[in-house]
């Protein structure tokens, strides 16, 4: 089942009354949405309000989501409209950005969005977490590091990775899993106990 289908399944779960499934979608897309919004919004308080509002609006609009567009594309458009309305209502100017940059595959093209170097320190995933992840990745055995990098950064499928690394698909699956687990275990002392991560 593809990533897009999985989002649809989660949407179905929400539509059947399971609100927690929506939390999973928020967890999945929150940083992507925040990155998008931060290009349009200067004020960190505005950013937080708009981010929240985006997801709440998406929740309310779920009955209208037909599944013909990818969930993230649909969410992207809600984010952009929410930002525009919010800022207009407050008479604030929006940063110019190619907000309608959507490529042929109907996915928002994030390469068209400029890299921002002015994000306040407090909003960055703590330096500690970022450092921990980088260190954890560097510490991985070569075959695990390669597998997770190809998957997360190149977006290759298991089959493509298997071909590239000349190993069975089952091995790819196992390596990616073990890489994730190894990194996650290094995050544990920094992110705290599980209770802090529950929502």
């Amino acid at each position: 089942m593809s990533d897009r289908e999985i989002d649809l399944q989660l949407v179905e779960r929400v539509r059947e009354g399971d609100k927690r499934a929506f939390g999973l979608l928020v967890e999945k897309y929150r940083r992507k949405v925040i990155r998008l919004l931060s290009r349009m919004v200067r004020d960190p308080d505005d950013l937080e309000d708009i981010a929240q509002e985006t997801f709440i609006k998406a929740y309310r609009a779920l009955p209208k989501f037909r599944g013909d567009a990818a969930f993230y594309t649909w969410l992207y458009r809600i984010a952009v409209n929410t930002a525009k309305n919010h800022l207009v209502a407050r008479g604030k100017a929006m940063r110019t950005v190619s907000e309608y940059a959507v490529n042929d595959d109907d996915e928002p093209d994030e390469r068209l969005v400029a890299q921002d170097i002015n994000t306040p320190e407090s909003e960055l995933l703590s330096k500690q977490v970022a450092i921990a992840v980088n260190e954890a990745v560097d510490a991985l055995p070569e075959e695990l590091r390669q597998a997770i990098t190809l998957r997360e950064m190149e977006g290759m499928s298991y089959e493509e990775i298997a071909e590239y690394m000349s190993c069975p698909i089952g091995t790819v699956r196992s390596r990616i899993f073990r890489a994730r687990e190894a990194i996650a275990s290094k995050l544990l002392p920094i992110l705290g106990t599980a209770d802090n991560k529950r929502w």
């Binding site: 929150r30 709440i56 309310r60 995933l125 529950r198 929502w199």
Partner: protein, 161 residues
């Protein structure tokens, strides 16, 4: 979360879109009901996002959104699954949601494991038996695929000929 090493790589494969439809549905079902799985899901999302350079985050955004949703009515909407491409078996005149009667669609036929060689030579029954089997399912077991039946002639005393 258990700090101990887990063996179950299903969630990891789910996230990569590499599970079969059936396995994925079950994994999603499990995920939405299991807090530990949800925590692990969140961790995997953080790892992926960080590797892709998404460092900007709002602390506990999900918690705040979910708290706000507590006040929202639960969203409920018609079930709408991606359409499968199956030919219409019934009259083309049927309008959307028209009331027509039809047979159960069957899942791909499986080989039955039991040899029927012990029975008498089979007899080709009239085709009207299949709808009776379907109609009987109202009272028996729902949504089961159509049965393969084997038929033989009988004399009135009930002995097979």
């Amino acid at each position: 979360m258990n700090a101990t090493y887990s063996e179950d790589d299903t969630l990891s494969a789910l996230l990569d879109g590499e599970l079969s439809d059936q396995s994925a549905r079950l994994a999603i079902l499990r995920l939405t009901g299991d807090r530990e799985q949800q925590v692990r899901f969140s961790e995997y999302c953080v790892i992926g996002d960080l590797l892709r350079g998404h460092r900007h985050d709002i602390p506990d955004l999900t918690g705040k959104v979910m708290a706000a949703l507590e006040l929202e009515p639960t969203v409920l909407a018609p079930v709408r699954k991606p359409a499968t491409r199956r030919p219409l078996l019934w009259l083309a005149a049927a309008a959307t949601a028209a009331i027509t009667w039809g047979l159960w669609s069957t899942a791909p036929r499986q080989e039955s494991g039991v040899p029927l060689a012990s029975l008498q030579a089979s007899f080709h029954a009239p085709s009207d038996v299949t709808p009776y089997l379907a109609a009987h399912q109202d009272y028996a077991q729902a949504v089961i695929a159509a049965q393969d039946m084997h038929f033989t002639r009988v004399s009135l005393s009930g002995e097979a000929q």
